[in-house]
């Protein structure tokens, strides 16, 4: 592969990774990690979902005593696992993009030098 093709490949890959990072960031913004907590008020149990929205901590009412806690916890666990995977993916892609940018810079320098 010539230098020119290598530069195009690296630039295309960088653009692809940037697109993927944007999608992941958007996903993380719309799906923050959450937890469920309960409050006992005058003998009645109330369940809330707690998550962060930017710098704010948000509590959303989930249900009272008749609420299916086991089902909700299972669903939340699956959602949190997805979020965790997305975070891992984001960290990996950020590393990858840095490496590609470095390679692209070297390739471009070499191309201009030739």
């Amino acid at each position: 592969m010539g230098l020119e093709a290598n530069i195009v490949y690296l630039e295309e890959e960088i653009a692809n990774l940037q697109e993927r990072i944007a999608v992941i960031l958007n996903f993380l913004q719309n799906n923050p990690s959450a937890s469920i907590y309960c409050r006992n008020i005058k003998g009645k149990v109330y369940y809330y979902k707690k998550y962060r929205q930017g710098s704010k901590s948000v509590s959303k009412f989930f249900g009272s005593s008749s609420f299916d806690l086991a089902g909700a916890l299972k669903k939340l666990k699956a959602e949190n696992e997805k979020v965790q995977k997305a975070k891992e993916q984001l960290a990996r892609l950020k590393k990858e993009i840095l490496a590609l940018k470095k390679q692209a810079k070297i390739a471009r320098k070499a191309f201009e030098h030739v």
Partner: protein, 225 residues
């Protein structure tokens, strides 16, 4: 083994299972991977994670229900991503899918009223009209790749198309992109020989042939073919 090959085979498998492969023609650089399984082309450095498919007769797929290709792609771990300015759509790995790296795009031949990307209810995906797809679609062969029958253009036509479209590259680094196209085309050209390619060119005329000849001239100077 090429990079992302396992993922590519998984994709083809799913498309075959859904019966979508009979409507799709593999185009773009991934054709080289399939050609290499059948023809004595030399080793090459494979450099793309974009898989392009062209759609055969998209008009036939305007009605739903058809093949839920979008569902299949979502199941495999891809999500649709639209362009900021255009309606064009491509499938990229989902945020939580760790083992995926490919991006998939569906193209078709533009028509009298088909200029903008449009939704194909028969496949559930958005097709992006790009010129000169017809040439590839009309010159198809079926090759078996990892036990999957894949439709793709004849190598000579694929090469001619690659050389011609190298002249249509626009924007930043257009010259570098042109060279990348030419290097890909050179892999098949070195195997088939210039004479065979030129003989095949007689089947084409007009602007496409002009583009090809312009590209070939540059290649002759650059690679001394």
């Amino acid at each position: 083994m090429f990079e992302f090959e396992k993922e590519f085979v998984g994709l083809l498998n799913e498309f075959q299972h859904k019966g979508a492969l009979e409507h799709l023609v593999l185009i773009g650089s991934w054709c080289l991977v399939v050609y290499r399984e059948h023809y004595p082309i030399r080793r090459f450095t494979f450099t793309t994670s974009d898989v392009d498919f062209s759609i055969h007769r998209p008009r036939d797929l305007r009605r739903s229900p058809g093949i839920a290709l979008q569902e299949s792609l979502t199941k495999l771990g891809y999500v649709p991503k639209s362009g900021i300015l255009s309606k064009a759509e491509k499938y990229i790995p989902a945020p939580d899918s760790i083992a995926k790296s490919l991006s998939i795009e569906f193209l078709c031949e533009p028509g009298r009223n088909v200029v903008e990307p449009f939704l194909l209810p028969g496949l559930g995906i958005v097709a992006n009209p790009i010129p000169y797809q017809k040439i590839l679609l009309e010159n198809c062969i079926t090759l078996i790749y990892r036990r999957i029958p894949v439709q793709l253009p004849r190598p000579a036509v694929w090469t001619i198309h690659k050389i011609a479209i190298s002249q249509l590259r626009k924007g930043r680094d257009s010259e570098l992109k042109m060279i990348k196209d030419m290097e890909n085309a050179l892999v098949v050209l070195n195997w088939l020989g210039k004479e065979k390619i030129l003989l095949e060119t007689d089947n084409f005329k007009g602007k496409f042939k002009k583009l090809f000849l312009e590209g070939l001239k540059i290649m002759e100077e650059k690679y001394e073919i």
